[in-house]
Symmetry: D2
Subunit: 432 residues, 4 copies
């Protein structure tokens, strides 16, 4: 839990002159060394010992490790809560987030991490993921290819690494758990610095295509219900050296190929575009829902894609989250929700768990109007704050996000009930 023990000492002004012998309280600054001292051998026992399966205990519970509003099997407005929600854990934030930011290195040192990026470590981490999903009671997870398995020296080696970890994930999924969606990470590696599907280098373009091909195969193999494209590097830093028209043509060609390949292999999941206005680039081509719709229409892709709306991306583009959801919905394109939030005074992606009940109510209003969101769902593209360094915080954060959405749904139900007495309540028009 974020905790700041308040300095009660009256700090004396000669502190500079005092001998300083403070023992280091965290790991050394050299982030590359890792800090866990676990043997690299097989992990014994639970990853989250002492944390039980999270249960619904209702609003009066004081137990931080319980749901107060989310009751998975309770029926609201004709559906079970879990079917309205279809919650998913984001592998990258939850298991690969280190707490680093542009001004600081890693702060989180989970006990199961051994400081390497080996396949063995990737497998151990995958086991932690499934224990987490099971304890949380969530049936979906989301991943980028490179966050679940290490990049190799060649594409073949990377694919082989991925296959090993995916085989384990398939086994751990059992009959109940599935990927809400998979995707390819086309932004971390330096080869993608000029873009992937919009790179000026044909070799990079081809490499990205091969990576997407594999990621779709893997998502299909795992029974994933959707596949996402987030074009983090598909944009520009300046128009002075960018031929925007040509780059967008290339992007369309890339996506057309993905559609063709999906059909070829029989993958029936929905393809999703995830709009974001900027960051890391100055300007991304999938700026917002409307921009993405213009793109899909122009290139004949409207029937093949839906949108994955992220609330934090919405506000960065100057819209409310509700606006983006509604824009997608009225165009029949509301495919999935990255359920997070930003900070209204901050101009970059903070990926916070949404805890604003009013906002959650608006989000759920769009979902109910849409008659639900399946085969999409809610993905928690949200991370612990940098200062939040306890393993338990991973649970508390997800619980708060889930409970908030659950309160949103309960509020929508109340609004609809109220509207039976008040035909003037416009926002309920769709019921009549």
């Amino acid at each position: 839990m974020i905790a700041r023990n308040i300095l009660l000492l009256l700090l004396c002004s000669n502190v500079f002159l005092a001998a300083i012998a403070t023992a280091p309280q965290t790991c050394p600054a050299d982030a590359s060394s890792g800090c866990g001292d676990n043997s690299s051998g097989e992990w014994e026992g639970e990853f989250f010992p002492g944390i039980p399966k999270i249960k619904y205990e209702g609003p009066s519970s004081k137990n931080p490790l319980s749901y107060k509003w989310y009751n998975a099997d309770e029926e609201i407005l004709g559906k079970k809560m879990k079917d309205w929600m279809r919650f998913s854990v984001a592998f990258w934030h939850t298991f690969r987030g280190t707490g680093s930011d542009p001004f600081g290195v890693q702060t989180k040192f989970w006990p199961w991490e051994d400081g390497t990026n080996s396949v063995a470590m990737a497998k151990r981490r995958m086991r932690a993921n499934f224990e987490f999903l099971n304890k949380l009671g969530v049936d979906y997870w989301c991943f980028h290819d490179r966050d679940i398995a290490p990049d190799g020296k060649t594409l073949e080696e990377s694919n082989a690494n991925l296959d090993q970890v995916v085989a384990l994930a398939k086994e751990l999924q059992g009959k109940k758990i599935r990927p809400l969606w998979g995707t390819a990470q086309l932004f971390v590696h330096p080869r993608y610095m000029h873009g992937a599907a919009t790179s000026s280098e044909v070799g990079v373009y081809a490499y990205a295509a091969a990576q997407v091909k594999k990621a779709i195969e893997v998502t299909h193999f795992l029974g994933g219900e959707n596949y996402v494209f987030w074009g983090g590097r598909e944009g520009y830093q300046t128009l002075l050296n960018t031929d925007m028209g040509r780059e967008i043509d290339h992007l369309a060609r890339f996506l057309q190929a993905a559609v063709a390949y999906k059909k070829k292999i029989g993958f029936n999941g929905t393809l999703l575009i995830e709009p974001k206005p900027q960051e890391p680039t100055k300007h991304q081509y999938d700026w917002d829902a409307a921009t993405s719709i213009a793109f899909l229409q122009k290139y004949g892709l409207l029937e093949e894609f839906k949108l994955n709306i992220e609330c934090n991306h919405a506000t960065l583009s100057g819209h409310s989250c509700h606006h983006e959801l509604e824009t997608a919905r009225i165009n029949g394109l509301l495919g999935n929700i990255d359920a997070n939030t930003g900070d209204p005074q901050i101009g970059w992606d903070t990926d916070q768990f949404l805890t604003d009940i009013g906002e959650a109510t608006m989000v759920m209003l769009s979902v109910v109007r849409n008659g639900g969101i399946a085969p999409g769902g809610f993905n928690f593209d949200a991370k612990l704050r940098r200062e939040s360094t306890d393993v338990e915080d991973l649970f508390i954060a997800h619980i708060s996000g889930m409970d908030t959405m659950a309160r949103g749904l309960r509020n929508v139900a109340k609004l609809i009930e109220a509207s039976e007495f008040s035909v003037h309540l416009y926002c309920m028009w769709w019921l009549y």
Copy 2:
């Protein structure tokens, strides 16, 4: 140079199905491995072979490795250009910038880097710094303690590392080159995640104090003319768990101690506060010039500090750079300028080299009104774009920044000349 060779191929839609055998064009993604293959032994010869000392060639020159507007010894408005400017190179951006961002790893692999963070590497890098300064013709440099020498396991070890590198720097400085300022890096290490002078941990507070003590000593030893405090972690992520009043009290106590220590050791350099509104924290205590002034007044520090105004920080706080410079100036606190710029559509710190001539004119207007800025100067707190990966770009970027400021100064001179014919030109009022 940022270059994007445009994809001329008509990309065929079956690219997915094609065999992919693209050789990797950049270094492997595993950023920790480094990419240079230099032996870790002593570096032979020049760091920047083929790059001559940069000379003034005038506006008609087509040579990118020449000054077109900055003519160091030319007199403008009664002073040499170099005395108006007092340009400084920022060690961290120029020699420690890797091109990583929140969504991507290192893209820059300078030939002299061996992938380690050793003291030997630190010394080699320092030699590169001085070759760069000499070729550029700049007499000042700026540094954080931890970017010039590696952090150690203990404070003693860190100090010893620092001493070794500083001894070399002192030697390389010769008679002409000096630090414009030094500072302590109190934001990268995880120990500072809750702040340094505003940390809730007394041990961290004390550690930060010890680090500042050493950094002041080292700056003094090198003949530095100023010492800067930038409180990257001195702020909050949320007021819900922060006692802002108490934290600011602690910050003041910290700075009072620094003043006392500076006097004790006979360091006559100016102490500078560098305001920034946010990032990495949601809200920093030195939000802008006015906020910093309120703080200095409240705690009796107004006589002991000046301000280091950064243009990118200015615009992030909702002000024009000129506003912040003037706010500092009319309070007698214009101490130094971090001469960079942001992007007007971007909500985070991009630290670009300023190339806008109009903006540079306004900046120089404040400097001329101030009668110059010594013992402060212009520090290029600016970095190459992530996609800019050639060593030569380091020179081109600095040249563009210096030439832009030089054009600003030349414009101010023209404005003043014009005002001799037009007493109505208000903005020249200070001449009368």
Copy 3:
């Protein structure tokens, strides 16, 4: 109530060709003509017929003209709700707001308005104000001199107009109602286009001083508990023709004179600065709380003023409202709250009634930490939306604002109660 009867017709495409004979549904566009057809004689009977005194009916009430959370005499945390709140109605928004905006003319035509700006009309409007206060059950009101009485051709005439209306207000106030604060309107008249206390014209400066003198007298006469300075025109459009240092000096001199005069006439109310970052000017000198504090310190005014924090101004300056309240509080300067809110995606002052319960909780947290806010209070510097044109809406809007604050206070009480069981809850630290 804002109502949009949805177009149920399938609009046919030949609508252009159809004969159009739509009767005008609202008043003519010529805004200067007014629209009410009331005789200019004395108003008979109630201004708000059919609207009873608003009572507390509790959360389960469905009556829009009742309080669900605000129960004036209920004790919470040791004080009556009305004493924590000290709600005030803003005369200008409630009685002079016309619904015009930069792109459109007046939309509101209250039945008691006769389209003139006469003294008779001003008196009638003042009677409406007191009926409104009494029905709402609010004991405070706020005003600008020129919104309660018409400007005259000379200062003498303006003062005489004001005296007539103030005499009536005094009578209508009775024993219970008082101004929370008064102020002078120094921004509407073209004479103030370059500023009032910062005008470049000495005559304008003197005129403004005379206007403030009279406004303080009038506030004193009415038993006002505070007097506010909002410097809407005290800023600049561009620094190119502005001597910011000199203008701020003039502003300080102006306020020093106001302090002297207040003491001379025995007015014991608090003087308040109301920060705002910009609008109408590009940059106002009282940008935010910290900037105002720096100013008060510099000119020796810290003991003489407190701050009036407006939530919408806070967010326009890049801070949360809570940040501004806390900044004022920890400096002992939290004097009053303009309880409104902006729109997180809008860059100008929207002056909406606050209806966000989370935000209201944070606001009340600062007030409770401050031990209350008297002799200040909460002023609803908030207006009906342009489309909200029913008289009843004036009540509904205020009720929603008051109920929201009341819920905030109730939440704070719950937080404190919870903290008795959880000493870890930092935000309750002040209790220990």
Copy 4:
């Protein structure tokens, strides 16, 4: 000219006590009364006496009433400057702008205004417009129906008023001057408070359609080359009471009818959508270029419309102006440019004349890439600052805007020339 004679007096602190007898220096605050004392009879002689026809005098000229960079008949890149530019004066800002803002009344009192909104006054104003166009040497003007002729009590009366003024305009146009575009003002009148083409009232929708029908006829009659739709009220204040999908359907139907009518009457001008993100509404349906393109595609209107890009609207939507121009261009939709600029620190529409040469270069780069912009052009949707109250300022402002664009064009020519020596200069790719 914006002038602030600086207060040289040392203002004494007893200014409050001094007798105030300042004569009013501007018109009375009562904006409805007007201030000019011209007889309402026929205007004799010139409107702009003493101002000659503006001529090109070159960069070394010191004459503020001359062009320094814009030389209408000079050929640049194969076209006359005037043919690249096709400058237009905006009737509303130039002749109907009063200097009022949300916090202040009228400051501009042009000598020819008699304080009425009569047809006679409208005609006199139209004569001033043509004298202005002729002296400035500009061949195009733009207008809204209601800014050139007064609104009447009925549609018939409004149309009759319009016909009278248009007949005069037709006569004054002569053979050379034409409207660049006309439009209908569908946002000022209260009937449009819920929208025009998206109003929830069928009568308002029909009224708006009739108004557009007439405005297209009038534009056609005057030989206008384009017709613009700016949907200032076509958006929402909150999604809670708005059925966005249905409103956008209605908007599309409205525009389809306009297309049909245009064809029916043989008007061959281009129809233009002018995107704006917000203001006056919280969110407008034509947010930016991409949003407008998505809309046009969805409703089969892509072949019938082009875009009118306004720079200030571009930056309010989070894009650079250049981005919006390029987005329009690469979609074949760059139809017209509203050549103004905003303030990078201000969140509302300031409609300033563009004086930034760098920005103007980027704008002209898009125009040159587009092979010119005819039948569109550059409309100065820009206004004098509120403090700028001299008639001469109207000329100086337009000259500065035109000269800035001319410098932009000259810079583009230099860039192209330079690229003949440097095939690496990507941004010149379109030459090859």
